[in-house]
Amino acid sequence: MLDTVAIAQNNSDAAQPFAELGLKPDEYARIKEILGRRPTSSELAMYSVMWSEHCSYKSSKVHLKQFGDKAVKTDALLVGIGENAGVVDVGQGYAVTFKIESHNHPSFIEPYQGAATGVGGIVRDILTMGARPIAVMDPLRFGPADAADTRRVLPGIIAGVGGYGNCLGLPNIGGEVVFDETYIGNPLVNALCVGVMKHSDIKLAKAAGAGNLVVLYGAKTGGDGIGGVSVLASETFDSTGPAKRPAVQVGDPFVEKVLIECSLEIFAEDLVVGIQDLGGAGLSCATSELASGGSGGMKVELDRVPLRDATLSPEEILMSESQERMCAIVEPKHIERFLEICKKWDVTVTVIGEVTDGERLEITWHGDLIVDVPPRTVAHDGPVYNRPLAKPEYVDRVNAEQVIVPRPSTADEIKSTVLKLAATPNLADKSWVTSQYDRYVQGNTIQSQPDDSGMVRIDEKTHLGVAIATDANANWSYLNPYEGAKLALAEAARNIATAGAKPLAVTNCLNFGSPEDPGVMWQFAESVRGLADGCLEMGLPVTGGNVSFYNQTGAVAILPTPVIGVLGVIDDVRTRTPMSFDRAGLELYLLGETADDVAGSEWAYMHGQRGGCAPVADLQREMRLIELLVAGRTSQIFTAAHDLSQGGLSASLTEMVLRHNVGADITIANVEVALISESPGRVIVAIDPAKSEQLMALAKKQEIAIMKIGTTGGNNLVINGAIIPLNELRSAHTETFPKLFG
């Protein structure tokens, strides 16, 4: 029996399954208060999905406010937090939009489709801003590399990321693959997309203008992911595996590719007033957000929605997360042309409603009113929690721990340390993964893995380009969430700067355990505070991002994993500083200071040592280093520049010598610290000896410590006399992934 507004008014005390849909008693009571009656089952479905953690950010809102409060005032930010994605001005009339999102839980359930639809979703978020998507990146985190469940999820996730992204024609320009026990049962699939447009092309999600039409176009609606958002993302898994098997979204990248081209033609002719993509919470989200963005009034005839499955009920249609759908607001005078373009691309398109003068979102089903709500209460004024926080007892105890690891000092020890680090899954060559991704399509990729950042040219005449890097360090965030977030921000920004690009804006994907755990909530609050403080100090606005809570199995949360994405700009990609050197006779310098920062390092992790204190971020010094790198690129001082991070000096040298098969002869003091320490704020640069004076002057001016460490050339990596033949190093570095994953 259809539950209508009329019926709800008459039997307002009838019992409803709000708890099964994830709503708390006080939330249900509030809905009744807002409506002055009980909600219809359709309205209940809408509120339950839109008020879920994943959609409403109810546990994180109070903390994320800091990104706005502490935001640096900058003209470069054209669209800030609140819209589908942030937009920054990069010069020459171009605007770039980028964002990172998570699709963690679906990827544990169905790795291929979970990852694929994660890519599809973030690409649509970029498209909906009015931009042509130009690249994707994928930071991925798994349980231990040799665990059975990793072998189950990893190949499917990689295939899904590649399968969807390649078919869309988007180059994959970078990402991460990290292994840690903490992610067993909770793989993290974060997907980033970047798009470009002219300033005048920017589109917003608002339904303005009474009489304008609400138009649904793209794929037909089916039973995909019903309840996926509220049920799946706001629920943890018990240790024997997922208890439910709800409908997982299935994506079709061909349909999305056609949707992209169709939409861009529609945008080019300026045919939409507002636009929103249908992602989490499907139509519930799109209609309530569009209506909220406008004056507030909208009327929708739900029975007009084209269906793949005629048996779907109105509640199911409202909750469906069928992929590849968009909702546009179109003036009546433009609808004919809109329909023509959809016909050209063979895209299903239906007018499902119109913008009204009122302040209510009204949805009918074959003439019966089944939804009558104030849209802001659904989309924006959801519950806001101030969850209790408590610093967990582990922090002080773990910070006091000594980190005991072997310290390499003899030639044999140096060699074996370098080979071990080169081969460990977290640092090993990732070609097995990246060769499944197309990095060439669109013909503008300047840098991709294994470079420090992905770089794409956005103007073929002027060679203006953008660079993007993502970084996280869960080990440091575990030891000190405040510093950990700052350090990840600094690392991502530094990764932009090594190529000579200037950092401009920030996005973030915050992956944490359950917000109902005060210890997790404390980690979250500290991480957000660290990121907000760091962004303010570095002058980088946070343009948007994503929070993924409930990444835990039973009572065990994952290590706090805030992934920070930084976007930068470079005026001429042809002048960028490459990551490594391709000839002998260059001088190698280490910029920055090395302390005994082994706590939280890869070497410590490999020896089961997870305690100690994280480094303290010195963002002023990081900023001076960034200036040095950008200035050095402008003056063309560097032949190569590569930053140091996980695996310290050992890993960076390994990566540099193997890139073009040119060795190096290195001499370094305190090798037992220097080889394995992961002190932040450091970069190796290679220069033509003729430029050494210029380099020293630049380092002095920027007050950055500098030390000559060696020269390039030969068939070996030599460190303090320890000889590591490149062949041996290459074998160690490149055999790991094929051995593990076939």
Partner: protein, 222 residues
């Protein structure tokens, strides 16, 4: 001199092919799959991508597009026609070239910089190269394994109609490491790797791919 570049729904490398054409010094004209109109072009490129999502079989649906009728006619009359990757798949489905492209033997999509040997420089698209010349251009596909029966293989080898072979390990299981073939006349060429992604060292591994596009200019001038 105009070179047409066809766009099917799902085509991805059309703009890259057009860029390569322009780089080589001539004009690229966009051709829409649904318009049976070649707009007076002198040569046609079927670019790479996932036309129709690779539904049914790669290129199986595209080969029936209205524009393909005109292209087949023109090719039979001698017009230079190049099919790259998905375009090669379309040419085989349309029977303008023999054989078929099947799933890579290791099942993964593979993107890498592939060394090739040019084995025939008498075609409209390979005259800028010398026989035996080794070039490096990107290979990126999931269905690149060239298969045909023994008789076809003997004919291709015997008549010298293999225009490029993979050098080194066989990346996808293609018979006799065949990376590209031509028809008897030498005007229709199918090539699995992507020359349009190797037109400069800023965005590609080499500039070795430009030769395909300069070759056709010479063919048209003749």
């Amino acid at each position: 001199m105009k070179v047409g570049v066809v766009t099917f729904p799902g085509t991805l490398d059309d703009r890259d092919a057009a860029r390569a054409v322009t780089h080589a010094g001539t004009t690229a004209i966009s051709l829409w799959h649904n318009d049976a109109d070649l707009k007076g072009v002198d040569a046609v490129i079927l670019p790479g991508g996932f036309s129709y999502g690779d539904y049914l079989r790669c290129g199986a649906i595209s080969r029936f597009a209205p524009v393909m009728e005109k292209i087949i006619d023109a090719a039979n009359g001698g017009m230079p026609l190049l099919g790259i990757c998905n375009g090669f798949q379309v040419l085989c489905e349309a029977h303008l070239l023999p054989g078929a492209l099947t799933r890579n033997h290791e099942l993964h999509f593979l993107c890498g910089d592939q060394k090739l040997e040019i084995t025939n420089n008498q075609t409209a698209w390979t005259s800028s190269y010398s026989v035996g010349q080794e070039i490096v251009i990107p290979l990126k596909n999931g269905e690149g394994s060239f298969q045909c029966d023994d008789a076809t293989l003997a004919a291709l080898e015997g008549e010298g109609r293999i225009i490029a072979r993979y050098v080194g390990e066989n990346p996808n299981g293609s018979r006799n490491k065949i990376a590209g073939i031509t028809n008897t006349r030498g005007n229709v060429v199918g090539l699995m790797p992507h020359p349009e992604h190797a037109i400069d060292t800023l965005t590609g591994p080499t500039a070795d791919g430009l030769g395909f596009f300069t070759s056709v200019l010479k063919a048209l001038v003749k």
